[in-house]
């Protein structure tokens, strides 16, 4: 059982949907992003997705691209991101932290070294956008062996024939990308997402969390209502990018979380 499994067990017992929040590590600087991260659980966030900045985020829209750029310009490195999680863990032993990003910085560090460091820092799961099941030997299988959940993206183009392959070797939860597109793009309608989630759930016992394009508490409620939870990223990152105070960012996160928890 990982913190992710524990969290879903708790939510099930409470009859609640999961609210997942994404922030970019080091955006706009380490102190600010750590302050936001520390405030997320109290704002109602069940799982934290921590973005690892990368120069070439090919699956991300402008909001996340600029956040990554701000973090890199501020001197963020993979080591600092790992240290940030270790620092967060000093005050929070239960909230799952999932690192999300691209493979090259991990590959550059060395997969074994990265996994050992990630485990030691208290990281529970990984979402690596450019590692489809065809490349499972790279990181997915070593991560599972190291006790870290490897969370897969399923998409509208993942047809039923392919679904078993996508679900194989995955754990924690499934991240359903509600649209064909990049982060921060137009939202999907709950009426369209519902049947898709049912399709995914027919292929797995894991919880299915829906992300991409969710920007308001109302949308969070609607989408979480047809899944096991939802993810909000760009809408939060945008506030950080506008230079809003940490308290204001967290207040908005609390509204979004309340939306998801009403579902």
């Amino acid at each position: 059982m990982t913190r992710i499994d524990d969290t879903f067990a708790r939510l099930r017992a409470e009859g609640k949907k999961a609210f997942v929040a994404y922030i970019m590590a080091g955006d706009p600087d380490l102190e600010t992003s750590l302050a936001v991260m520390r405030g997320l659980p109290a704002a109602g966030v069940d799982i934290i997705e921590l973005g690892m900045p990368f120069t070439d985020p090919m699956a991300d829209g402008l909001t996340i691209q600029l956040a990554g750029q701000r973090a890199l310009d501020g001197g963020q490195t993979l080591q600092k991101t790992l240290d940030m999680v270790a620092e967060f863990r000093k005050g929070d032993a239960t909230t799952p932290v999932v690192m999300m990003g691209y493979y090259n910085p991990i590959y550059s560090r060395g997969v074994d070294r990265f996994l050992a460091d990630a485990k030691a820092a208290g990281i529970d799961g990984l979402i690596v956008v450019d590692l489809p099941p065809e490349e499972d030997v790279e990181l997915c299988i070593p991560a599972q062996a190291a006790g870290i959940n490897f969370i897969r993206l399923a998409t509208p183009t993942t047809d039923n024939k392919r679904l078993p392959k996508v679900m194989q070797n995955t754990s924690g939860f499934v991240y359903y990308v509600s649209i064909t597109g990049i982060t921060g793009a137009a939202a999907a309608e709950a009426a369209d997402v519902g049947p898709e989630v049912a399709r995914i759930k027919a292929a797995t016992d894991l919880p299915v969390i829906v992300g991409f394009g969710i920007t308001t508490p109302e949308a969070a409620e609607r989408i979480a209502g047809v899944a096991d939870g939802c993810v909000v990223g760009s809408a939060i990152v945008k506030l950080v990018g506008e230079g809003r105070p940490v308290a204001e960012v967290l207040a908005r996160v609390a509204e979004l979380a309340a939306g998801a928890h009403r579902a």
Binding site: F54, T55, D56, P57, M58, A59, D60, G61, L62, Q65, L72, T77, L78, Q79, Y102, Y103, N104, P105, I106, Y107, S108, R109, V129, D130, L131, P132, P133, E134, E135, R152, L153, A154, T155, P156, T157, T158, D159, R162, V166, V177, T180, G181, I182, A185
Partner: protein, 408 residues
């Protein structure tokens, strides 16, 4: 891996798209089903005589193939050593080798029922070729081009627009080829159902590196036949410039198992290959990493962040290189060198006045290496250099570097 342990260098990639450790399919799940469909479609087309009949017809009547293998007599005399042949792919319709590959991909796109074509472009040659073939077949065409390149390759931007393509300047990053490829991938993931991504080089997720190589191999196949006819034997050395490496792979591939043939790829050395990293020599100055769907040598910092690089030539201004080149480098079948901006400019001018050919800045890099080695080689040493593009698009850049005022 010792060279003599390998029976053939022409069997790659494996079914997972790997050339040794290089290549692969490092893309998001949204794209993966389409990549697999493309792979199946290409595998089918490859053995379909009607596909190649259509390609041959278009290559002959639309592109103007075969391109001549030309003995550069005055250049040979001037350098006073090896006998230099130029493979004249700059004489193709649209002025570069790029169209060889675009034709193949567009025919595949139509077989797959795709109605919208997207492409990335650096120097603009691949964009122009894609816009051209889309116009020829009545397909919608969108070309992503770094904002920096839009500025330094203005004539090609206008050409694409004349051909009916939409050119989208990319401002993210430093606004060069890498950034254009990122935005093309973002478009593709958004419009995956009706859109075909026509990649311009031997990079990207499998099957692109192998597929683009196969389409470009017409260069090497012709050159091999032509030199055998002209000289009665194989060349001693073949040389081509490398950004992503498609013209080079096209020339090299049919010669890979001819062990007597020395193969040299020339990377863009920019201001010099050193710690300043103001170059685009991925093999000489980079290390293995994963970007744009494949594992290959990349310019990157200690933390795995991709560096921008620099080259006078927009077409070579890319921090990676095709995975098959990375493999050929590591197994030692091909050697890779670098040439600086200054050396390329000098070779550019030499070619103009000795052969009456204005070369593109990309093959000027290959030519600069010919200039270096030819004088040291005997008169019976045969060199084939790929003249992969003409320099009309570059005259503004060259004028600026030579301090010539082009304003009329």
């Amino acid at each position: 891996m010792a060279e003599d342990l390998i029976n053939s260098f022409m069997t790659g990639p494996d079914e997972n798209g790997r050339f040794g450790i290089f290549g692969g399919r490092f893309v998001s799940e949204t794209l993966m089903p389409l990549i697999l469909e493309l792979d199946a479609c290409y595998e089918h087309a490859k053995t379909d005589p009607s596909f190649w009949a259509q390609m041959d017809d278009l290559w002959k009547h639309y592109v103007g193939r075969p391109s001549p293998l030309y003995f550069a007599e005055r250049l040979t005399e001037h350098l006073g050593g090896a006998k230099i042949y130029l493979k004249r792919d700059e004489l193709n319709h649209t002025g570069a080798h790029k169209i060889n590959n675009v034709l193949g991909q567009i025919l595949l796109a139509m077989r797959m029922g795709k109605t919208r074509i997207i492409a990335e472009t650096g120097a603009g040659q691949h964009g122009v070729a894609t816009a051209t073939v889309c116009a020829r077949f009545g397909l919608k065409c969108v070309v992503y081009m770094g904002a920096t390149d839009v500025e330094r390759q203005a004539p090609n931007v206008f050409r694409m627009r004349l051909l009916g393509a939409e050119v989208i300047p990319v401002t993210s990053g430093r606004g060069t080829l890498k950034d254009a490829m990122n935005d093309a991938l973002r478009d593709w993931v958004t419009n995956v159902r009706d859109t075909f991504y026509c990649i311009g080089t031997v990079a990207g997720p499998h099957p692109y590196p192998a597929m683009v190589r196969d389409f470009q191999s017409i260069i090497g196949k012709e050159a091999r036949e032509q030199i055998l006819e002209r000289e009665g034997r194989l060349p001693d050395t073949i040389i081509a410039a490398i950004g992503g490496g498609s013209n080079a792979m096209g020339l090299f591939y049919p010669f890979l198992d001819d062990k007597s043939v020395r193969i040299i790829g020339v990377e863009a050395g920019g201001h010099g290959v050193d710690d300043r990293m103001e170059h685009c020599a991925s093999l000489t100055g980079g290390r293995p990493g994963v970007l744009h769907g494949n594992r290959t040598y990349l310019l990157q910092d200690d933390d795995g962040q991709i560096l921008e690089g620099h080259s006078i030539s927009a077409g070579l201004d890319y921090p990676g290189i095709g995975p098959e080149h990375a493999w050929l480098h590591d197994v030692g079948r091909a050697e890779y060198v670098s040439i600086t901006d200054r050396e390329a400019l000098e070779a550019f001018q030499l070619c103009c006045v000795t052969e009456g050919i204005i070369p593109a800045l990309e093959p000027s890099h290959a030519l600069a290496h010919v200039v270096k080695i030819a004088p040291t080689l005997p008169a019976d040493h045969l060199i084939i250099m790929n003249m992969c593009g003409r320099g009309d698009k570059d005259i503004f850049t060259v004028a600026r570097h030579l301090g010539f005022d082009m304003k009329i």
